[in-house]
């Protein structure tokens, strides 16, 4: 099985994990009124479990000693971007209804496609098919969200 097919399978599996997570979060946060506190706990669990995994396998520890600084900076900023996404989503949902916020936040794949076109031209080819596919996915999510 080629790397491309594996990559698509992994992306769909990530979507499934995030979808399951959305259901878990909805059940938990509705009973607990501090989503950012909950996010902190969830993130702490993520750091601890992945840190343990890296330490147990030793691979992460030895790799960590040879990491290029550029990679570390990009990954740290990537984490900051995710945190901004979560925090901004929380702020948005506290100020506007879900039917307004969710379709807007769901456009993030299109933003990724646009930024890929701007910053990853050498390593990633973005063609009309990918753009149309992204638009259909975002449109479908909008239809599902607005119907609730």
């Amino acid at each position: 099985m080629n790397q491309r097919a594996i990559g698509y399978g992994l992306a769909l599996a990530a979507g499934m994990a995030y979808g399951l997570n959305a259901v878990l979060i909805r059940q938990t946060v509705s009973a607990f009124g501090a989503p950012l506190v909950g996010s902190s706990i969830a993130l702490a669990m993520g750091v601890v479990s992945l840190g343990l995994l890296a330490w147990i396998t030793r691979g992460g520890v030895s790799e960590g000693k040879r990491l290029p600084r550029r990679a570390i900076v990009f990954l740290l900023i990537s984490g900051l971007g995710s945190a901004i996404g979560v925090g901004s989503n929380f702020v948005a949902l506290s100020l506007a209804p879900v039917v307004v916020v969710s379709p807007i936040t769901a456009t993030n794949p299109l933003i990724t496609i646009l930024l890929s076109r701007l910053f990853l031209q050498r390593s990633e080819r973005v063609n009309l098919r990918v753009v149309l596919g992204g638009c259909l996915v975002v449109g479908g999510i909008g239809v599902i969200t607005l119907s609730r």
Binding site: A31, L43, M45, A106, I113, L136
Partner: protein, 141 residues
């Protein structure tokens, strides 16, 4: 208006995060890349939570902590690592639309295990999502 701006910031934050992850994963394993990005996310989120919702920490119960810990296990060692593994293989532009299926999967899980009903918009939206995925996955080289 402020809510719309915040929602746009959220979309931009998540969208940019995927690009930055791709740039950072050159020569780095997705597992270690996930850990590094998580450390950053955790630090920022904890500081903001301590500033904005400090009373929330006092309201935590054992069961609540365990539920959020489960959410963390599903979302990060599993979800974000699958995310980074996919980005490293197919790039963020092709992976991001497939991550967007999380809304579809959430609805399907809700239909199967809770009281959510199958509606025409749900079916129509699902068809659009699946068609979009097929377009992305089956693009010609």
């Amino acid at each position: 208006m402020l809510g719309v701006v915040a929602a746009l910031c959220a979309a931009l934050g998540w969208g940019a995060s995927a690009i930055l992850a791709r740039l950072g994963l050159d020569g780095v394993s997705p597992a270690l890349g996930t850990l590094i990005s998580l450390v950053s996310s955790f630090a920022v989120t904890l500081v903001v939570a301590l500033i904005v919702q400090p009373e929330g920490f006092a309201q935590l119960s054992v069961s609540t902590v365990l539920w959020f810990a489960l959410i963390g296990l599903v979302n990060f060692p599993i979800g974000r690592q699958l995310n980074f593994q996919a980005i490293k293989r197919i790039g963020p532009a092709r992976a991001a639309p497939l991550f967007g299926t999380s809304t579809l999967f959430a609805m399907l899980i809700a239909v199967l295990f809770t009281d959510e009903e199958v509606t025409v918009p749900l079916v129509a939206g699902s068809l659009m999502v699946v068609t979009g995925i097929i377009l992305v996955v089956r693009e010609q080289k």
